[in-house]
């Protein structure tokens, strides 16, 4: 599997990086870390490129390289990449321009297989979409944004599972809310949920929410299947059937001390665009990390 972790700054990306790496480790996934810098006006692309190349003559890093270097050092210090290769290190001034708006940091030795460090410039959704497509990414991990449109666009247009790291506190003890229903992506979500739960030693609350008091047979079947799967996986869990509005109920139960895992919506993209979807609304309104499995 391939994971993509998007980081923005040293100050705000540490929790995203930590959570992302722990999840990636649980999946034994290869990781690419990407920094997306601001879009450069088309009137200035060549001029900015020329100025940035000139900086290299002065041994000055272009914007974003310092953040990638910090991320790299963080991975080494926390043993996310092999310490035997530690000395082979980060060579920030060896950027390989792989595309007009994409550079790759050259890492020597074994580290090049363990982690990819990418510097991109432009519209963040476009850049993440391109990177996901180019590297065939399975899960994109990103910190929460205050912009409503950002979460919408991530879930609507990025062709991978999305893990939004929102309000994560490493000192807090987390549990997991795993949304279970009869949607096609539920089984995949349960499998992902198990991996994450194992990585963090979390207790899973497999939650089925019905908007009527009568639970459909399909919901009951899905819940029973999840119970069997979780038991076989040896994960501590509970099975719960709740009645109420989906978004409010799941967010109420999740609070700020759960990680939400749910499948993506199977509604038509057009319907999702105009009326939204459950995963989108959950991501917007929740106060904790949420993994939307596609």
């Amino acid at each position: 599997m391939k994971f993509l972790i998007a980081i923005g700054s040293k100050e705000f990306s540490e929790t995203t990086l930590e959570l992302g790496m722990r999840v990636a480790r649980a999946f034994k996934a290869s990781v690419t870390i990407v920094y997306v810098g601001e879009k450069i006006s088309a009137f200035s692309t060549s001029e900015v490129l020329m100025a940035q190349e000139n900086l290299e003559n002065w041994e000055l890093d272009r914007q974003g390289v310092d953040v990638l270097e910090w991320a790299y050092n963080y991975l080494v210090e926390n043993d996310y990449i092999s310490s035997s290769a530690e000395k082979e290190g980060f060579i920030g001034d060896k950027l390989v321009q792989t595309d007009d708006d994409r550079c790759e940091v050259f890492l020597e030795g074994k580290h090049t297989q363990e982690v990819g460090l990418i510097l991109r410039n432009g519209d963040i959704i476009q850049q993440l979409r391109d990177e996901v497509k180019r590297s065939e990414i399975d899960v994109t991990i990103i910190g929460a944004s205050k912009k409503r449109r950002m979460i919408h666009d991530l879930i609507q247009y990025i062709d991978s599972s999305i893990f939004v790291v929102k309000n994560y506190d490493r000192k807090r003890t987390y549990k997991m809310v795993l949304a279970v229903n009869d949607a096609p992506n539920t089984k995949k979500a349960v499998k992902y949920g198990v991996r994450v739960a194992q990585a963090f030693d979390l207790e899973i609350n497999a939650l089925t929410i019905s908007n009527t008091k009568e639970f459909r047979d399909n919901y009951k079947k899905a819940s029973a299947w999840a119970d069997t799967f979780l038991r076989r996986a040896g994960v501590k869990h509970s099975i719960n059937l709740e009645y109420g509005k989906f978004i409010e109920t799941i967010n109420l139960i999740a609070g700020d001390d759960h990680i939400i895992v749910m499948g993506s919506s199977t509604r038509s993209p057009l319907t999702k665009f105009f009326t939204g979807s459950k995963p989108l609304n959950v991501c917007e309104k929740c106060n904790c990390p949420a993994l939307i499995v596609k």
Partner: protein, 471 residues
């Protein structure tokens, strides 16, 4: 849905949301096409204005590549019957386009010589280690150099000097934020102010000179332009330093250790190489050519001679020029100039000028002030969201058709297009300093609005009380 798979539909939706400005431009052009032409505007003029509207929307929105916008302008000029294919081709290529092409190539050639370390040493020798003197040096050198060699060339050379000083002061960005902002804006605003000084300071100046000739208003020589514009440049420097200092006053008033480290760094570069000497000599020759030979050869051809010499003496490789020259911008400016010429030929420029004056006359009685205000204020605003050369290419014909003294209005428009202080996208220099990651977008407004107003007032005084004596 429509026989499309969910993936295809998702891709389509993505395209629509990203290209909404393109769709808006298409819709508005269709609407304007079917609106009857005003009585005082020819059908060709009407159609030309539709292209102007489309071009502005697409340039501001940046939804399609700039060369695509340029190509669309040329296609529409022919398809909408504004001119013949040969007529459009003739208006597309001019000395101004040669100049823009040549100056962008010269910039690549000059930056690649590594002269920035000499420049750094020169500045530091002059200014010493006091921060305010360094800021004064940065603004002055950036302004004076960019009046001759193009602002982004100077910004690319000055950027590492400023960043080295900042890094040598502290690696903690919080500690040096104000210092970094101050030094970087000294470069960006110094370059913007300097670009008005001579015709070679910016492509827009050459575009305006081209329009003077096209409109039969006579030729402005290189030295004539300096007489008009340089006093304003020199007056702006100390005022800009004061504004920048008051806005971003740093915690560090002396950069003793940072300056010493910079000196050590640049002295490692050793003595000036033969190539560097040759590069300077060629540029001096180009400059002398602009001053003395431009009436005969044109500014653009002289710039291209410089490029030819750099290439012939092996001072730069063609692949480097090819890689670092913004060809899209060159094509776009060619198309914008072509559109400007069509605006004049079809009477669209005159119609817009008359409409602007009649609207403004409801607010202000003084027609002279009104003309000045439209040309300068509108240009100043547009240049901050469009591009300074594109602004002059589109507004130039309108301004020259507004009546009054067209030379003064034309020069004022060209100079106002350098007031690109307010936004990141206003000019390549603003973008270059932003790419360092040390200045925030809100910083542009903090000092920018003060400089904008100062420049407007100064231009008003100079154009009303100094230029009339030169005409």
């Amino acid at each position: 849905m429509l026989g499309l798979s969910n993936q295809a539909l998702s891709n389509l939706l993505y395209w629509v949301t990203r290209k909404r400005w393109l769709i808006f431009a298409f819709a508005i052009s269709l609407f304007l096409f079917y609106v009857p032409s005003p009585e005082t505007l020819s059908p060709e003029g009407h159609r030309t204005l539709i292209i102007v509207v489309i071009a502005i929307i697409l340039i501001v929105g940046e939804v399609i590549p700039l060369p695509a916008v340029a190509i669309l302008i040329l296609i529409l000029e022919v398809i909408l019957g504004i001119d013949t294919p040969n007529g459009v081709a003739n208006s597309f290529m001019s000395d101004a386009v040669f100049f823009i092409m040549g100056s962008l190539m010269l910039a690549v050639a000059i930056v690649s010589q590594g002269l920035d370390k000499r420049l750094a040493l020169g500045i530091i020798k002059m200014t010493g280690n006091k921060t305010w003197r360094i800021v004064f040096g940065f603004v002055s050198i950036s302004a004076i150099l960019s009046s001759f060699i193009g602002e982004h060339t100077v910004a690319a050379m000055m950027l590492p000097v400023a960043l080295t000083l900042v890094r040598n002061t502290s690696t903690d960005q919080k500690v040096v934020h104000r210092l970094a902002t101050l030094l970087l804006f000294s470069i960006a605003y110094g370059c913007a102010m300097g670009s008005i000084g001579t015709p070679s300071g910016g492509g827009r100046n050459v575009i305006m000179i081209g329009y003077f000739s096209e409109f039969g208003l006579g030729n402005i020589s290189y030295l004539d332009w300096i007489k008009y514009a340089y006093p304003m440049l020199l007056l702006e420097i100390p005022i800009a330093v004061l504004i920048l200092w008051m806005t971003f006053k740093p915690n560090q008033t002396i950069l003793d250790s940072a300056v010493r480290k910079l000196k050590v760094n640049v002295t490692k570069a050793g003595k000036m190489t033969g190539n560097q000497v040759m590069a300077i000599l060629i540029f001096v020759a180009v400059f002398l050519g602009w001053v003395f030979l431009s009436p005969y050869l044109g500014l653009g051809i002289i710039a291209l001679i410089g490029v030819f010499l750099y290439l012939s003496f092996g001072l730069i490789e063609w692949k480097d020029i090819n890689r670092n020259t913004n060809w899209g911008v060159i094509i776009l400016f060619g198309a914008a100039i072509s559109l400007g010429i069509q605006m004049k030929e079809t009477g669209a420029a005159e119609w817009v000028a008359n409409q602007s004056i009649s609207i403004m006359s409801m607010l202000v009685d003084d027609i002279g002030f009104m003309r000045w205000f439209i040309s300068v204020f509108l240009t100043g605003l547009l240049t901050n969201i469009l591009s300074n050369a594109a602004t002059v290419a589109v507004l130039g014909p309108v301004v020259l058709d507004m009546g009054g003294n067209p030379i003064i209005l034309g020069l004022a428009t060209s100079i106002a297009s350098a007031f690109a202080y307010l936004t990141i996208v206003a000019s390549p220099t603003c973008m270059i300093i932003h790419s360092s990651g040390l200045v925030k977008s809100s910083d542009y407004l903090k000092a920018g609005w003060k400089l904008f107003i100062m420049s407007m007032v100064l231009l008003f005084i100079i154009s009303n009380f100094y230029w009339p004596y030169l005409s």
